[in-house]
Symmetry: C2
Subunit: 365 residues, 2 copies
């Protein structure tokens, strides 16, 4: 076991049915005025109503900023920050999937910091509005990470900003907000979470504690594999998938991700492939390649998956359906882009640009 | 699985050989002046030297307060707080077993708060000096809990003070500080940690996440059972026991303890039985009694232990050696005292005063 590790997840997690209403008081200490950050559709699942009920119960005043698009833009977070300042928000409640939850972090930071260099180069200080996160998808883990992934048009990719001050203070986990999620979103986000757990085990920063979370996350998500395949979910299934996703978030909060994410960003940026799906398309071939490079460590991952390499490919294919195909020039370009991403250095196994191309080719060629 | 739970452990954990020196910079943000809190013998294992080296590297000024006795007294923490104020300490570095680590929390609080009502009745605010904890025994888990157990002479017991602000900010886990620990201390502290993990699973606040930590803690500690029995330790054994103890601390940080601790405090207060040993003397009979009250849940614990109830009794007996014996009147008194402790209400199974007496009688009669 790897005893050299660091662990830090300073988020108060409250999990369970109706936890937002039942534990409204946990938000009381953060201030009297709240900016609720969400997307146009993110809050249409009861989460906004519950948050509003809770804030009213606490006597807190709020306004809603719901202009966060899918794959949040720089403009949308600056606008949200302006809204926070205008309203005099003392803290933020983020409701949604990865996009609103990530955007909320950038907004909480920009509401207090000027970021003259632009948000991607700004050294983030501790002066950030406190945040309460309410996930309405089970994939990103953003509710327990210090990362915000924002669309970076200048570099034509998605770029992660990160700082300890970007951890939410509080996360409410209630699976009922996912009950009406479309099948495709449920599958893609579950694959995203699974990818986080697996990639966390491939990180140079992996250690005992992150492995503990990663293996449990893998176990729980795959225990719901039949639900994912058939599209039949119970509330318990939803809560399990959410818990698995939060555990995976606690993994990457400490380990970061690998070139799977680096490659996936191009698929999302240039072709609009949903983030989780992008990871899922690449993960099986990537993991097979890891097996050649570091058999011992990679076998631990297949053991956690309880699958052979081929069985894992088949299991993912059954969830993903027909794969996207891209021509060689396109894939070479994405391999090059991924080779420049910092998460190449974060991987236990070295992947050259040529190695990345091979994974892309096997997955999408 | 129990999905209604809360989790909060906002401690930055850094684990591994020589981590204090290697990650000295993690202490840089807490201020320029440091009170080191330790016991007379606690720091004689290289930990104080490493801390001093690290603080010097950071250019931080320090003074040492080493007057924390075993089972810290109220007077000793007031004196430490006076020392902190006199020196103008901006943060605290605690080095030692449970006593210095717990005392440091009370000192960090009293350095900033008056506590006119006395420390046991004072409502603790967030204004507490930041703390860095360096455990030199593997048992208490204090480095990751918000608890400080202080000797309460007025009530003739040990009383826990607790607040979110009493969580250390940073914990360094290096097993090398335990290499010269006497066998009895090693065994007693390991039993303390094991008891935390087991008691956490018996708590009304137990949930998925605390169970995950508890089961892993039990697994790791018992994987070193032969070392504990024979007294042969490697550095890896030491690091494993420390990791198991920290995991168990993360459990009770979220679940609290049970009447095992409540009963044990009398053995420590009136007879000087080491805290971990006190728990170990009582745990097997307590757990057997739980099995009658809630068979299903208790079986999960025996499953985690990979032992039958009788095998667990035997395993603990082999570590504990000859048991203390007390007369009936004494045990009735301790049952009464334990029945008044708040951790009776924290247990999934109801234990009346008579039930507690039976456990005490079976264990020590």
């Amino acid at each position: 076991m790897e005893m050299n590790f660091q662990y830090f997840v300073p988020v108060h997690i409250i999990s369970g049915a109706n936890c937002v209403r039942e534990y409204a008081s946990a938000m009381r200490t953060f201030g009297g005025r709240v900016l609720i950050v969400t997307g146009k559709s993110s809050a249409k699942n009861g989460a906004l109503e519950d948050a509003v009920y809770a804030l009213k119960q606490n006597g807190q005043k709020f306004t809603v900023y719901d202009e966060v698009p899918n794959n949040p833009t720089v403009a949308s977070v600056y606008k949200g920050a302006e809204e926070a300042r205008r309203f005099g928000a003392e803290f933020i409640v983020a409701i949604g999937g990865g996009s609103p939850m990530d955007a909320a972090k950038a907004i909480a930071m920009l509401a207090r910091q000027e970021a003259k260099e632009g948000i991607f180069d700004h050294p983030i200080t501790d002066d950030v509005l406190p945040m309460v996160h309410i996930p309405t998808t089970a994939g990103t883990g953003s509710e327990v990470t210090p990362y915000a992934i924002i669309t970076n048009d200048e570099k034509q990719t998605k770029t992660s900003i990160s700082a300890p001050s970007l951890f939410p203070r509080l996360a409410y986990l209630d699976g009922k907000y996912m009950e009406d999620l479309p099948q495709s979103v449920t599958v893609n986000t579950a694959i995203d979470a699974l990818s986080h757990a697996v990639e966390g085990m491939l990180s140079v920063r992996a250690g005992n504690m992150s492995d503990l979370f990663a293996k449990e996350s893998i176990r729980i998500i795959l225990s719901e594999y039949e639900s994912l395949r058939t599209g039949h979910y119970t509330l318990q299934t939803r809560q399990n998938l959410l818990y698995g996703s939060t555990l995976a978030g606690m993994v990457i909060a400490n380990t970061g991700t690998t070139p799977v994410h680096g490659m996936g960003y191009s698929l999302t940026y240039f072709h609009g492939v949903p983030h989780g799906r992008a990871n899922g398309l690449l993960l099986p071939a990537f993991l097979k390649s890891c097996l050649e490079k570091s058999p011992e460590r990679t076998r631990q991952i297949y053991d956690a998956l309880h699958m052979t390499p081929d069985a894992f490919c088949k299991a993912m294919d059954d969830l993903l359906g027909k794969r996207e195909k891209y021509d060689d020039e396109t894939l070479r370009n994405y391999a090059h882009r991924a080779s420049l991403n910092k998460n190449v250095k974060n991987c236990l196994m070295y992947f050259s640009e040529e190695d990345l191309y091979k994974v892309l080719h096997q997955s999408l060629g």
